[in-house]
């Protein structure tokens, strides 16, 4: 008796698990079906799923469920046989059925019974829908988009609707009976062939896997201890054994880790349904793209990100993507796209949830923050865009104008952030107004065992998680003091030209300081998007460590992420890099380091140029401004294809034309043996068009003031200058790009084509630099060396924008403005002033002198943006206002 009962229970349990899997698939199938309503295979699959559940219900005597699924099945069989068309209403009805089925299943799981709700109204609705078929179909007969077989079958039934339905039902019943018999046959087979199935897959409880993982963690620790003993004693036998133990432990650890890995698709599977329901509910059209569903994560992490992900997706649907009408008005396709992406990167998993909706209005965010009292108005003014965006993660913040039942209750992004951070992850938000927003989540692959760097400070060992570690810097002996400099008492370090804030771990932790050590050991760490150097007393090595939580008494300490047990059995604390950074104050308060760096960079491009140095053919040292370079790439020779008489490669789903620099600079030069493999390519970008320049070797990126300039008579070169104490030739990018003219002219932007820009500068070198960027953007470019030259060119050509150096000979740029404004036919041409560096006084001078805009000479991107603004005449006034604001902003 008991045995039979247990058997029953086991059977019900299996039924529940199987049904649950089936239903998740059903959700996806149905949403897919809505997109391709005539997919017979899909319909067949859905029918089978429902049918399987129904069959099992009959067997296990769950009558309510059987009733629901039976009616749904009738409806589905009609759909499958093409007797009627799928409508969104029908899909909703079937989804409702799926929900009802879930409810009953949940009730079976918890109470063992089907529950009191009989779902009669749903069954009725399904019946009505199924019965409605024939009448509708008769009316729709003239052009039914169904298969021939179904057509002919239906033709038989047409004369008498009622009878037809009867026969059809009978036939359906018969079919079902046959199918059921088949199913039960298969079940018998299942029993007999049970052992065969067990061979390939078994179900294992998650609890068991967790237990295994714990044990492996312990084993790793024990292994570490054994290895430590081994180094202390020199016993060959012990050595061999411990090495073996080491290997096996590592493999076991990997194996067990894998058993706990699940594809992120497990979570994503639910999303198509969610998105569909929301979009139907809100009257929006949303297409869901999922990329990288196979990316695997530890199941504990999968569990942890489930809710945050769901929330983000809801947010995108609700706040992000606009209604079809709004989208059309904004010039976008009515259907919004929601993109989910997951991929591995450097021991972490990145998950992106993005939409192409309205983006986030920073001004509104600020306003909201002020309303909610999170911010004072004067603070808001000073706040940068990125900082303002991060306000969204503050508790109690929601920008939705109206509270909907989907999101907007103000319990949102802060919870998302705290959930993600709890598992050691980081959340970033990127938004472009009018173009959409993307939330990027970075999380560790697993939480249990992580690689860490063991360091020593104040006589204690600490572990730094490897994911936060960027590099180790050791400053030797005498130079130690020199390399760490002080800005108003704050230590900083010059790391490859940019300043890295430094903090001392001894000070942060209040430990005794090491007494004037000769060398300084520094670990460069990254927390969120900020970097800092942490000076420690000593660096040991990296180790696999098992993260153990700290007791409740220490939970308030943000300095530690946990603790671990070292090889000698002692406890070591794991540092929380973010906490250390915040505690020590290296992050400053409400400051945006990224912006500071950007500003510094902008500063340096004013005084100095960043140059990409490379080698090609007989030219050992060539340079182009780095600001014009999009990317550096390597392509295998095998990837290079021929199209349209030139070489191309497939690059990021596009075709990238390749130009050999050697062929341009030294046409007819003999080939130097076999071409390099892979080839080095410098990619230049322009909107959605790119060109790859093939060079022999990328040498370096130099950042320094160009000291000596000498004009070159050689084709393809602008001139020479001394860079890094060596003579370097500057490439005439204009010429190189002309070589791939077809590609470029077709890629030129709509609004830049046919527009002419006159570049006025005394220095041919500077002209070449400026025109390079303009050429690439698709403008026709004229050059002029002085005021007379400018006037002459303007008389001969129609020019849309004049770009001039402020020091244009003979009398400066303001003389040019005066000259142009004096002539009515030229007075309307906007003029952009280029200065060595944008500072308020110069900007003010430019403003009063009547220039429409002013930019730093070698900031190619800003110059381009400015020119693009100026070519449209109606923006002139706005642009000049912009100039004002730019003058006010640069301090």
């Amino acid at each position: 008796m008991d045995d039979a009962c247990a058997e029953d229970k086991e059977m019900i349990r299996e039924f529940l698990i199987e049904s649950d899997e089936n239903l998740s698939r059903l959700d996806q199938d149905l949403v897919a079906l809505e997109k391709s309503p005539l997919d017979v295979d899909l319909l067949g699959s859905i029918f089978r799923t429902i049918h399987t559940i129904k069959g099992a219900c009959g067997f296990l005597a769950f009558s309510t469920l059987e009733g629901i699924t039976h009616q749904a099945e009738s409806l589905l069989s009609q759909l499958r046989d093409g007797e009627r068309n799928l409508t969104p209403e029908l899909v909703s009805l079937i989804l409702e059925t799926v929900d009802a089925t879930r409810k009953v299943l949940a009730s079976i799981e918890t109470s063992g019974t089907e529950g009191s709700h009989k779902f009669e109204d749903l069954i009725d609705k399904l019946r009505v829908a199924a019965e409605a078929t024939c009448e509708i179909e008769t009316r729709l007969v003239p052009d039914p988009p169904v298969s021939d077989a179904a057509n002919s079958a239906k033709a038989e039934f047409q004369p008498d609707t009622n009878k037809a339905r009867l026969r059809q039902d009978e036939q359906g019943e018969e079919e079902k009976r046959v199918a059921e018999r088949r199913i039960s046959d298969r079940r018998d087979e299942d029993v007999t062939q049970h052992s065969a199935a067990v061979d390939s897959n078994i179900r294992v409880g998650v609890g068991l896997l967790d237990k295994l993982m714990d044990l492996v963690g312990e084993l790793v620790l024990t292994r570490n201890q054994i290895l430590q003993f081994n180094t202390e004693r020199e016993d060959p036998a012990l050595n061999a054994t411990s090495q073996r133990l080491n290997l096996i432990t590592t493999e076991l650890q990997e194996g067990v880790m894998k058993t706990r890995m699940q594809p992120i698709g497990v979570v994503w599977n639910k999303l198509p349904r969610v998105v569909r329901d929301i979009s139907v509910g809100l009257g929006k059209q949303i297409q869901l793209h999922m990329d990288g569903a196979e990316t695997e994560l530890d199941r504990t992490i999968i569990e942890a990100i489930k809710d945050p992900l769901m929330h983000l997706v809801r947010n995108c649907c609700d706040h992000g993507i606009e209604s079809p009408a709004d989208r059309t008005r904004a010039g976008k396709p009515p259907q919004g796209v929601l993109t989910l992406r997951a991929y591995h990167e450097g021991g972490q998993v990145n998950i992106e949830v993005g939409d192409d909706g309205a983006g986030i209005d920073v001004a509104r965010v600020k306003q909201k923050a002020i309303e909610k009292g999170l911010l004072r108005p004067e603070q808001a003014e000073k706040l940068g865009d990125r900082e303002a965006l991060s306000l969204i993660f503050e508790p109690g913040f929601s920008t939705a104008q109206t509270v909907t039942n989907i999101s907007g209750r103000g319990v949102g992004m802060d919870v998302v952030k705290s959930h993600i951070e709890k598992i050691g992850g980081v959340v970033d938000l990127y938004s472009r107004l009018g173009e959409g927003a993307t939330v990027k989540i970075r999380i560790p692959l697993t939480l249990a065992i992580i690689p860490g760097l063991v360091i020593i400070s104040g006589g204690e060992r600490f572990v730094i998680p490897q994911v936060s570690l960027l590099e180790l810097i050791r400053i030797e002996g005498d130079s130690g003091g020199k390399h760490i400099e002080y800005v108003h008492g704050t230590p900083v370090y010059r790391r490859r030209g940019s300043l890295l804030p430094i903090t001392y771990l001894n000070q942060v932790l209040g430990l005794r300081s090491s007494d004037g050590a000769e060398a300084v050991n520094m670990v460069v760490l990254q927390a969120e998007d900020r970097q800092f150097g942490l000076v420690v007393d000593g660096i040991y090595d990296t180790q696999e460590i098992v993260v153990k939580p700290l007791g409740k008494q220490l939970k308030g300490l943000t300095l530690y992420a946990g603790a671990t047990i070292m090889g000698d059995g002692r406890v070591a604390l794991i540092l929380d890099v973010l906490g250390i950074g915040q505690r020590s104050g290296v992050f400053g308060e409400l400051r945006e380091p990224a912006r500071v760096v950007e500003k510094q960079k902008a500063q340096s491009t004013m005084e100095q140029q960043r140059l990409l140095l490379f080698r090609s053919g007989s030219f050992d040292r060539l340079a182009v401004p780095l600001s014009l370079v999009a990317r550096l790439e390597e392509f295998q020779q095998s990837a290079i294809e021929h199209a349209g008489g030139g070489q191309v490669v497939q690059y990021r789903d596009r075709i990238l034309p390749l130009v050999s620099l050697q062929a341009v600079l030294e046409p007819g030069a003999p080939d130097q043996g076999a071409p390099a493999d892979p080839v080095q390519v410098v990619v230049f970008n322009d909107g959605d068009m790119s060109v790859g320049m093939v060079v022999d070797q990328i040498l370096d990126v130099a950042e320094e003031a160009v000291t000596v300039r000498q004009k070159s008579g050689r084709r393809g070169l602008l001139g020479s200058a001394v860079v890094g104490n060596r003579v370097t030739d500057f490439l005439d990018l204009h010429l190189v790009l002309r070589e791939s003219k077809e590609a470029w002219s077709s890629g030129a932007d709509e609004h830049t084509r046919g527009k002419t820009v006159l570049v006025a500068d005394a220095s041919a070198f500077s002209r070449g630099m400026i025109r390079g960027g303009l050429d690439m953007a698709g403008y026709s470019v004229l050059e002029a060396a002085n005021l007379d030259d400018v006037i002459r060119k303007l008389e001969q050509h129609t020019v849309d924008v004049v770009v001039t150096a402020l020091e244009l000979p003979p009398d400066g740029g303001s003389a040019l403005v005066a000259a142009l404004r004096a002539r009515p036919e030229l007075a309307k041409i906007p003029i952009l002033a280029l200065v060595e560096s944008v500072d308020p006084s110069r900007a003010a001078v430019a403003q009063t002198a009547g220039f429409q805009d002013c930019q730093a000479k070698f900031d190619g991107l800003l110059v381009l943006e400015s020119v693009a603004r100026l070519v449209s005449p109606q923006t002139v006034r706005e642009a000049s206002e912009e100039c004002m604001s730019c003058a006010g902003e640069v301090r």
């Binding site: 312990e218 620790l221 104040g458 204690e460 942060v508 932790l509 209040g510 430990l511 153990k548 939580p549 700290l550 007791g551 409740k552 008494q553 220490l554 300490l557 300095l559 530690y560 603790a563 047990i565 059995g569 002692r570 406890v571 070591a572 604390l573 505690r583």
Partner: protein, 160 residues
């Protein structure tokens, strides 16, 4: 401190039974044996910089990391005259896992009779009053019953 709720919840119970006893300075304490996991000699302690001062450090208890609380500091008592490192670990089980209480000396396990029990005297120092459930009047001395849950909750009794 608003701790009336927890106080009433725990003080009604455990008025008789077996107690593991220990000494902190000249105070004689007892903890219900049911809540005592084990008693250990001095262990290697990893200190936790910037932690509250009552936390002496972390010990490795067979792969489990256990926080050690210095009972003298917890009770706001002066440090001992001699070598402090000889403290004994009384590891108690709490709702939040095992916690080690560092005490001066371990005593016997004693059987207590409810008839000798009394609630803590009102004039007890605040630091101790919050942590003590009650008092057993022994022949020659008083046994203070320690509330281990409140002892390991550092929010209790620290408002002074």
């Amino acid at each position: 401190m608003t701790n009336d709720m927890t106080a009433t919840k725990s003080s009604a119970l455990h008025t008789s039974g077996q107690f593991s006893t220990f000494f902190v300075a000249d105070l004689f304490f007892g903890v219900d044996v049911v809540h005592v996991q084990e008693v250990l000699r001095s262990q290697h302690m990893t200190s936790v910089p910037q932690a509250p001062d009552v936390i002496e450090g972390l010990i490795n208890l067979r792969g489990q990391i256990v926080t050690a609380i210095d009972m003298r500091r917890r009770l706001l008592l002066p440090p001992p005259a001699g070598d402090h490192s000889a403290s004994m670990n009384m590891v108690v089980r709490t709702a939040d896992g095992a916690v080690s209480l560092l005490v001066d000396e371990i005593g016997d396990v004693l059987d207590m009779d409810a008839s000798t029990y009394e609630p803590p005297p009102d004039n007890l120092a605040p630091a101790a009053r919050d942590l003590i459930r009650g008092v057993y009047k022994l022949k020659d001395r008083l046994l203070l019953v320690l509330d281990e849950e409140r002892t390991v909750d550092l929010a209790v009794g620290r408002a002074v």
